[in-house]
Amino acid sequence: MVRADVANPLPGQVRRRSVGQRLMRALEPADMRPLRGFGLAMLVVAAVFPWVAGAFYTRLAIESLLLGTVALSVDVLLGYAGLLSLGQAAYFGLAAYISALMYLHVTQSFWLVMLAVVIAVGLFSFLLGIVAIRAKGVYFALITFSAAEILSKIAHNTREIGGSDGLIGIPVPSIPLLPGIGIDLHSDLAFYYFVLVGLVLLYLGVRRILDTAFGSVLRAIRDNPERVPYLGYNPFWYKLSAYVLSAQIAALGGLIYPLLRGFVAPHLLGFEVSTKAVVVSLVGGIGTLLGPLVGSVIITFLESFVGSYTERHLFVLGAIFVVFVLFLPDGLLGLTRRALAKRSGGRQ
């Protein structure tokens, strides 16, 4: 016997997938199929990493994952909406400052801080987004760039929030999950898994959001901005939503960052973090979502490695930038995807 609703679904009664199926689907959008195994392999490596590496590298890995949120936010904008933001660090840094100030002066409750960050970043990105997105094209990159610069300058010049020294001595809280169960961030291992699990959930969530009709409209706007309005969609609101979403993604990284390093400084808002996020997405592969995370880990470790030989890490960063723009515009994941797709033949 065939159940009627499966054989002949009524409108609005489409077959529901199980949670597991939906999670797998989130990992597996149509054009990313060859990368699923790659993503899972990365996850396994990430899961065993702190057992193999020492404390220093574990903390470096946490930092790379947190900076990965900024790269992910760049990718949501550039890879899906076709908007290049050179100021995503503004949200990372803004969240870091709010989080630091609240821990120092207001509350020790992680969830309250998070709420404040989400609201503040949401408001700020909404207002700036209206201005930046209305001013089309390359202006968007310049406005986001300037806005981040302004914030960085303000942080630099306001003595009340530490000026150029930033804020130090931020206490490390423990994060209550369920009544009685909490995560003690003093332990590097706990911190690492907390961030890793958080990032995987964030990735799946973003993937899921962009797999909906919303994501399709964004891609349509990226590929053919003239045509989308004729189909009845207003690109402005879609871009603005993508912008606010990406701001929140970067803010989640910034929210945790002060707990890792115990300080915040104006450079977190500045162009170096923003730029690095763009380099990282470019290296990982724009439009892949997974690429920026992988790229962030690679570049952070590379920088640490290069940094132990030379202080010229800006030069190295710039050179990587130039090489990828000129010769490898698909990034590492683009290359991997192509190689895997070729090997598996016409299977897709």
């Binding site: 550039l78 290049l84 050179l86 201005v131 209305r134 001013a135 089309k136 094209g137 390359v138 202006y139 990159a141 310049l142 406005i143 760039f145 300037s146 806005a147 610069e149 302004i150 300058k153 303000i154 630099h156 010049n157 162009f271 730029t275 763009v278 380099v279 470019l282 010229r312 800006l314 030069f315 960063l317 710039g318 050179a319 990587i320 930038f321 130039v322 723009v325 000129l326 515009p329």
Partner: protein
């Protein structure tokens, strides 16, 4: 009343003259940016670093005995050649791509990081002072202005006028404007568009180098000078309208006045922030900037 007049005379007027000089130099940098954007659709994020390179090149050339006047002539040429290399090796291969506005922006960003680091390797992180070629103070109605600043103003204005003349009154300018409006048509008339692009890029970079030399005796030469100036030049170009020559000059002069006058009453760092506030305001009212693009109108 008497107080107000003397306040305007001795406090506001000198500040405005100073701002005018900064505005002229800013206009030189912004002109290059806006011309390159108008013709190539390229936002040159390395422009600030070319300005910095101008300052450092002047420092080195003077150290080698070229003298200030030698540097003034040679530096724009050197910086233009660096710009030509950048255009030839980096930007030209990317121009046929449909997303060229974004990829060239990324490329020049990378180049900018590299230039800044190279400059630190060669010249270190110290601030280098450069001596003005002449001293002396001009006075007019009891307002005193260092002679060198007047000289900067004069050269700046002269070069701006020359650029205007070049673009709007010569055959080369006609080609440039045509190439901004309709490159395939210009190419089909037998004009090598590649040279047009190369020339524009070199000219724009040369202007940045010139601004670097001119301002170096006033502000000295230090590693982040390019970055600081670039953000300001962007504000100018955005307010004036990307690709507009008149817009770049007008906006540079106006924004320099805003910053100069505001810093009389509020701390200078906040005056700079105010400039960006003006920029955002203009964008809210006129998202495309105040003036038309190069090649249109």
């Amino acid at each position: 009343m008497q107080d107000l007049v003397s306040y305007l005379h001795f406090v506001v007027l000198p500040q405005m003259i100073d701002a005018l000089i900064i505005g002229a130099a800013l206009a030189l940098v912004a002109l290059g940016l806006t011309m390159i954007f108008g013709l190539l659709d390229v936002i040159n994020l390395a422009h600030g670093d070319l300005y910095m390179l101008g300052g450092y090149a002047a420092f080195t050339l003077i150290g080698w005995g070229a003298g200030y006047w030698g540097a003034l002539v040679l530096v724009p040429v050197v910086v233009a050649i660096v710009g030509w290399g950048l255009e030839e090796l980096g930007i030209r291969p990317l121009l046929p791509r449909s997303d060229r506005a974004i990829v060239t922006l990324l490329l020049t960003f990378g180049v900018s990081l590299m230039l800044r680091d190279v400059a630190q390797v060669i010249w270190g992180t110290d601030t280098h002072a450069i001596e003005a070629p002449f001293t002396g103070i001009a006075s007019f109605m009891q307002v005193f202005v260092p002679g060198y600043r007047l000289f900067v103003l004069g050269v700046g204005m002269l070069v701006i006028l020359a650029t205007w003349w070049l673009v709007y009154r010569t055959r080369i300018g006609a080609v440039l404007r045509a190439a901004a409006a309709d490159p395939p048509m210009v190419a089909s008339l037998g004009i090598p568009i590649r040279w047009v692009h190369g020339f524009t890029f070199m000219y724009g970079c040369g202007l940045a180098g010139l601004a670097g030399v001119l301002l170096s005796p006033i502000y000295a030469v230090f590693p982040t000078m390019g970055h600081d100036f670039l953000v300001m030049a962007f504000a100018v170009v955005i307010v004036g309208g990307m690709g507009s020559i008149v817009g770049a000059v007008v906006a540079a002069l106006v924004l320099a006045q805003v910053q100069g006058l505001a810093s009389l009453w509020i701390p200078p760092v906040w005056a700079e922030t105010l400039v960006y506030g003006v920029m955002l305001l203009v964008l809210v009212v006129r998202p495309g900037g105040l003036f038309n693009r190069f090649g249109e109108a």
